[in-house]
């Protein structure tokens, strides 16, 4: 006979403001099988948990229903409490009367009724729950870090320094990411390359780190502690072991007119190239799309000049397989490109550039060697307009969010421009200045007060060319929305930071969720900011949301710490919510008839054929068997099984049918 305890939480006033919690508790007490029912202000607090524990022991409860918040919030809390009181944790269920009831409905009879319905449903379920034993699985103590920008570099180094193996995968020919493209960094104006390149070298030399540059993740299977990654090493068209990185091939390549990705299209590069001098690894790659040999079958000059005969024109892509226990996703961000701003002539006028292009103009290693010269005619611009929030915070453009880094880098750009062109006039058009951060507000102030950057609070409606100048039409809202027209020589748009073009595709390969803007979703916006909803996969950097360098680094170290905690144990405990095939005593053995529909439907190849043999070794029947290490508990096989011979623990037929009937008030007959 079931002895169920029901514990109704007020959650301060979060539940009790709209739900009559006392009535929920008294109604719950009337449900057959419920022997204990109370309400309390904060059930998740220590005294609240004590209530649960005491009741389990005093009343000999066989099941617990906590009517409170979402199980995604506190199910682990209460299951742990139950375990501590000696009740199998899988005999505890949460009735979600907060997210699914008190927060979404008005105060009233219907809302209280719904709360009671929810409790009744979960009581019916818990009666059918069974004590389950957690599954133990081994942990592969190697981490896969995706993305070799500053976040990925930091995460890889932290994990490697903790003594674990790291596989770092970068899709570009060199690690370094966007940070390597920057000139100086706010708020200290220290040179980006100078602080980044030592880290890049450290990655290359670290004994615990295996670097796969110019590589991408093909696929990821498995689960926390036991992932299997397939990595595509794209053909560099040269033998990396033979290549010494002397650079002769890149100097001799006759084709030198390809826009350089590293210089954001402002500089040119040859077809065989190293993205930038400090690249790691410092080995070139042949751009097969542009290379004359791949296009016409002639040239092969690089092959002729290579002193070590390292060029391999027929090199294929290589697939590397690796067992990893955890994944850190640090794939970074992109910025909005041309055609998104027709009113600003971005992509049409050469002198309307984006922030990343300005970084290259200001960088000593950039196409102008650090001189600010505009792309159209190479002249030093006398007036430069900087436009903040180009796309960001603009619902009409579909980007409601703030890109977070633009206020700061715009102030930095204006400042750098002023430092390099002393007589120049920088004008910043802005909506608000968001300079929250250590020394950030002071930095913006400095731009205004010491460097004389003119800040105009207003948005720009249009930019067009007139007589070799760019006319910037905007408004000054601090001067009564007066229209402003500025003739600029160069316009820098702080275009919105957006997710990487392949973000969605990668998320689907990793089975992590993403938001409406394709940024990866953290498990909890406040309390689990570096974890995803998929156990064992962590987030670092701007792939989660736009963020600056210090924040990316902090999150990367956070993710690394999470990986470290995971790797500190040799075995992992997994929830046993997996499928099981019916087995029973002879002469039936199993109701499974061996149709193996389930086998084809299982996304994890977790279903195997098992031969049941008699004592004499004679085959009695072949039935399905679930590999508990591989099964993830989706239950697709359960719904598919025609003889209902396969069931899933935690969501069994008995449990869900009881829930449906209880919800409709029909399940209590057999209470």
């Amino acid at each position: 006979m079931a002895r169920i305890g029901v514990f109704v939480c007020h959650c301060g006033e979060n539940i009790s403001a709209t739900v009559d919690v006392a009535r929920v508790a008294s109604e719950a007490a009337k449900i057959p099988g419920v022997v204990h029912s109370v309400d309390y202000k904060y059930m998740c607090s220590d005294p609240g948990q004590q209530l649960v524990k005491a009741a389990i022991q005093e009343k000999g409860l066989t099941g617990v229903v906590v009517a409170a918040c979402s199980p995604r919030m506190h199910e682990p809390t209460f299951r742990r409490a139950c375990a501590e009181a000696g009740l199998n944790p899988f005999l505890c269920e949460m009735a979600n009367i907060r997210e699914h009831c008190s927060w979404v409905h008005e105060k009233g009879e219907a809302t209280t009724h719904k709360a009671i319905d929810i409790v009744r449903t979960l009581v019916a379920k818990v009666k059918k729950n069974r004590a389950l034993q957690p599954i133990k699985v081994p942990v592969t103590k190697t981490a896969l870090v995706l993305g070799g920008g500053i976040a990925g570099i930091q995460a890889a180094l932290d994990i490697a320094n903790a003594g674990h193996k790291v596989i770092l995968v970068e899709k570009e020919p060199s690690i370094g990411g966007h940070m390597s493209q920057l000139s100086e960094t706010f708020p200290t104006l220290d040179c980006s390359q100078c602080i980044l390149t030592p880290r890049m070298v450290e990655v290359a030399q670290h004994p615990n780190i295996t670097l796969h540059s110019y590589s991408e993740l093909e696929g990821l299977d498995g689960f926390i502690g036991n992932f299997k990654a397939r990595i595509r090493r794209k053909a560099r068209s040269l033998d990396e072991k033979l290549c010494t990185g002397c650079g002769l091939c890149t100097q001799k390549c006759p084709l030198r007119r390809i826009p350089s990705e590293f210089d954001a299209g402002l500089g040119l590069r040859p077809a065989i190239y190293v993205p930038f001098p400090q690249a790691v690894p410092n080995k070139p790659v042949i751009d097969r799309e542009h290379c004359t040999y791949y296009r016409t079958g002639k040239c092969r000059l690089c092959e002729k000049v290579c002193p070590t005969q390292a060029i391999r024109f027929d090199q294929p892509d290589e697939i590397v397989e690796a067992d990893v226990g955890a994944v850190v996703v640090a794939t970074g961000f992109d910025i909005k490109h041309a055609d998104f701003f027709p009113e600003y002539g971005y992509g049409k006028y050469k002198d309307v550039i984006d922030g990343l292009q300005f970084e290259r103009l200001a960088s000593a290693s950039g196409p102008t060697l650090g001189e600010i010269r505009r792309p159209s005619d190479g002249k030093v611009p006398e007036t430069v307009a900087f436009i903040a929030c180009a796309g960001s915070r603009d619902p009409a453009k579909g980007i409601e969010y703030c890109s977070k880094i633009c206020c700061m880098y715009t102030a930095k750009h204006a400042m750098l421009y002023r430092h390099k062109v002393h007589h120049g006039r920088p004008v910043v058009f802005y909506m608000d200045i968001r300079a929250g951060g250590k020394m950030y507000e002071e930095f913006v102030r400095r731009a205004m007060e010491e460097d004389g950057v003119q800040y105009v609070r207003g948005r720009v409606s249009r930019i067009y060319e007139r007589g070799g100048k760019l006319v910037v039409k905007g408004a000054d809202t601090l001067l009564g929305a007066r229209p402003v027209e500025l003739e600029a020589d160069l316009v820098v748009l702080a275009t919105a930071g957006v997710a990487q073009p392949g973000a969605e595709d990668l998320a689907q390969r990793l089975h992590v969720s993403y938001d409406a803007h394709r940024f990866y979703a953290e498990a909890h916006p406040k309390l689990r900011p570096v974890e995803t909803n998929t156990a064992g996969i962590f987030l670092a950097g701007a792939c989660q949301a736009p963020k600056d360098i210090p924040e990316s680094v902090a999150q990367a170290s956070g993710a690394a710490a999470k990986v470290g905690a995971l790797f500190s144990q040799s075995e992992l405990v997994r929830e046993p919510l997996i499928a099981v095939v019916d087995r029973q005593a002879p002469p039936v053995y199993s109701s499974c008839s061996g149709c193996f529909l389930c086998q084809g439907a299982c996304p994890y190849q977790a279903i195997k054929r098992e031969e049941i043999r008699g004592r004499d070794g004679q085959l009695i029947k072949t039935v399905a068997k679930v590999n508990p290490g591989l099964c993830q508990g989706c239950g697709t096989c359960v719904a598919l099984c025609r003889s209902k011979s396969i069931d899933i623990q935690g969501y069994s037929h008995e449990q869900v049918y009881s829930e449906v009937l209880a919800l409709l008030n029909r399940g209590e007959r057999d209470g």
Binding site: E99, V104, A110, I118, N533, G635
Partner: protein, 144 residues
């Protein structure tokens, strides 16, 4: 005349729609209380006999909702559910249950507003269709 309050059972997956409905809560968006949720690991787990059981038990409408195509936590469970739903529609029709009583949808963990809208639309729809009285007949057929 008092407005008819339909009883609607929502079968949702744990990873997308359940989380999306949680987000509706954390965003404090309001919707009709006529819907109660039953949680599944995945829409692929949802045995559509459960839907008949719900109708037989007196539900006026049913929602089935999971992750968007390609976003399934288990990669393909939602496709199984979709295929099952397409076949199931024919059975519903055969049983004389108006197909409009079932809403099949995708609500992601980020779509709190969509969940509220889905619930409200379903409640409205079922209100227009009126109470589902055919379940006695179903029980006669031995389904309930």
């Amino acid at each position: 005349m008092a407005e008819f309050d339909p009883k609607i059972v929502a079968f949702v997956c744990n990873w997308c729609t359940y989380a999306g409905a949680d987000l509706t809560g954390t965003s404090r968006m309001k919707y009709s209380p006529q819907v109660s949720v039953i949680r599944f690991p995945c829409t692929g787990r949802i045995d559509f006999m459960l839907l008949l059981k719900a109708f037989a038990g007196g539900a006026d409408g049913v929602i089935v909702s999971g992750c968007h195509p390609n976003d399934c936590h288990y990669s393909s469970g939602n496709f199984h559910a979709r295929r099952r739903w397409i076949v199931f529609r024919g059975l519903l029709d055969f049983l004389g249950i108006d197909v409009r009583r079932v809403r099949f949808s995708w609500v992601s963990a980020a779509e709190g507003a969509k969940w509220a809208q889905l619930v409200n639309e379903t409640v409205e729809q079922v209100r227009v269709l009126g109470p589902h009285r055919a379940y006695q007949r179903l029980r006669g057929l031995g389904v309930g």
